[in-house]
Symmetry: C2
Subunit: 471 residues, 2 copies
Amino acid sequence: MRSLDALFNPGSIALVGAAHEEIKLGGTILRNLLSFRGKVYPINPKYRELMGIRAYPSVLDLPEPVDLMIIMRPGPEVPDILRHAAGRTKYAVVMSSGFAEIGETALQDEVKNIGRDSGIRILGPNCMGLYNPWQKLDTFFLPKKRLGRPKKGNVAIVSQSGAILSCLLGAVQQVRRGVSKAVGYGNAADIDESEIYEYLSEDRRTDVVVSYIESVGDGRRFVEKARALSEKKELIILKSGKGSSGQAAAFSHTGRLAGRYEVFHSIVRQTGIREAMDFDELMDAAKALSLQGTAQRSVQENPPSPPFVKGGMGEFEAASGQIGRRICIVTNGGGSGVLAADECMRQGLEVINLEDGARERLRQTFPHFYGINNPLDLTAQVKDRDYAVAMEELREDYDAFLLIALPNVLGITEGLAEAIRETFRRLQKPAVFYIGQGGISRRLTASLERMGIPVYPSPERAVRGLKALLK
Amino acid sequence: MRSLDALFNPGSIALVGAAHEEIKLGGTILRNLLSFRGKVYPINPKYRELMGIRAYPSVLDLPEPVDLMIIMRPGPEVPDILRHAAGRTKYAVVMSSGFAEIGETALQDEVKNIGRDSGIRILGPNCMGLYNPWQKLDTFFLPKKRLGRPKKGNVAIVSQSGAILSCLLGAVQQVRRGVSKAVGYGNAADIDESEIYEYLSEDRRTDVVVSYIESVGDGRRFVEKARALSEKKELIILKSGKGSSGQAAAFSHTGRLAGRYEVFHSIVRQTGIREAMDFDELMDAAKALSLQGTAQRSVQENPPSPPFVKGGMGEFEAASGQIGRRICIVTNGGGSGVLAADECMRQGLEVINLEDGARERLRQTFPHFYGINNPLDLTAQVKDRDYAVAMEELREDYDAFLLIALPNVLGITEGLAEAIRETFRRLQKPAVFYIGQGGISRRLTASLERMGIPVYPSPERAVRGLKALLK
């Protein structure tokens, strides 16, 4: 089996089903291919030219073999197109729907067999296709004005669903980060998540992999490839099709059986692969890993010194078992701090109380009515600089910081981002914010995210975002 | 025990700790009281006038008794202020912190005893206070420019935490709805959630009650009052302080024990009171109930006819037990539909498949590549009008609609809201949207919410928002 390199980095592309206007999907794809660096061959028997490029009546008329053929024609036409493509392309991306997902299993099997017999490797059918900004490769059927494309970066997105792929592209873009590759692989008749994981584990442009899957073909191979990938890169997976309704829906969506989720969950858990439990968790993790995923990797390679261990075996065990998971919550709203502490417990993160020394130092520093605990409650009389002071004082005792700022009080200003910049940079510890909605919230969020601190709209989501940064 | 009517609808107010500038909390409160319809008496020994109103040196100098006294002075001063207030006010709102929440239990007990002996009923200490737009009453210490105030409406907010209260005010405002009353009751030394629930169950302005609590004083009384309230109004409660860290945090926040959450959860479940499991669920339910809470009540009073029951006892039981919980998912993104179906299962909602007749009708109506199932997959080639067509065709078979529109495709436009308006109005069934982020998303969301359809930013949150509309 050859590497997928020519799929993600083709030199030339043919588009079967190219159209002249963007209202048609084949027109949008052609428009998006116009910026591709290599050669593009539109195929459409009705036109001699499309969007200023010479068009060809059929696959048989291609002047030379291509690396990649994109097929956007109704399902029943696809087998013949593929037969004609034999020897004329290495890869085919079958974007058309109308295969196993609507019960047309025989049609999909036919496509699969033609691929196997002709040596054409197939992505799809019923898929979103490829995006690789490093090569200006963009095969999506969605116009740029509706789906913004992230710039070049180090995050790879691997999604069985085009809808979820689109949302993940948005999440990466929202925090001004970029992608290395994005692929929607649909029904996975041939190329599947495992093969893509294998490819990405060797891809030097990729540091973080965010993946949405509905079904797994070969479970053993999946576990092997996912584990290998997670050892080399930051990997997070959301698996859907969890209950019977979801499984039925997954089958109707991509025509593959979702399998028993409990089995998947237990294997993923054992192998230490990060799993998101729902859409929001996947988006939130994508954001956290886009911003701090690589920094975190370097932190892990230089683990922090063990925590100060107080007497007693129970405390020793608790402390030594939890290195890397001790969370300090700093808040200006008590209720939000309570909710964050609750979620930390649910997520297996430790909200250990302050050391006596730290407590004393903070009592000296802060007004008497601040709640000197963990969560540290800065109350409604908070000042921007309090967050940095708290982080500095507690940096030795905690592995990560969950910061909560409700900007309804006058003491929280847009200067908060600047007030913690230097501390955040120097501490090199994972940190996320929950910022309450309204008022200066949007601008403050933008400033923090520009500095590399992900911001979430609820206490619990902030906790789960932070968790994605801890292994 | 007298009703809380004069607390929520006072005729006159004294503010102890009034200040002349908004940078001080006592200045912000006075500013907010300027629009109050009744008499306001600022109390501050240093000024003869504050913000254009005559000020008084002390409580003892008040020219007449008031209904409500707001106290914003350091904790240790509060007992003397209350002693002087005996006979001079019916209610005191002690906003100051520095009581049981930081270990000053004796101080709080002293305050409580003075209240009991003098007949002054106390809200707080350590609380956010009151907002009643029907009386232009606003005792919050947060400026309007930082915390917008919702207009008059039918949603009551009862929150132990001021931070969560602020967020809930934002949620109601975001969907252009209004509140009947909002109260942050803090440490609950005297007036607690149970007494407020009792008052609201008789309040004709209130149809929906959204409540955040950290601790419950008298469990038996709480259950009695919460149940009585939920029989008369739409009630949803979030209880925090669930794990040991959260319980410790709750204690540090309001100085009351959170109690064993499992006990709370099991009782609430048995009595059929709606419970939100985290902050997002509470906000999402607040939004759904603000928009469709009252409509839903009238739907419940005229329950839909039982579903068509196919043969077999198992199916009969499943169907008859699930009246009111049959969800139809209509999506233009397969993966989002799968995630929604998964969440419906987790939430105990039924995603039953299409009846044969409906399936046949939809096959006639829609293109062959649409996925005619539940979820109904309108694919990337969706048109706005498809949603209304689907709802009309399936209106007899389902109790509620979960609609998903990913606006990355050209077939979804801002006209979608208009395209379903008439159907939504006529069907009178709960309906919510998940709209994907980006592009026209914001304007489309605003149009839908103006029509009374709540919009959520993820499939799972849409499911949980919809669930809040079903009992």
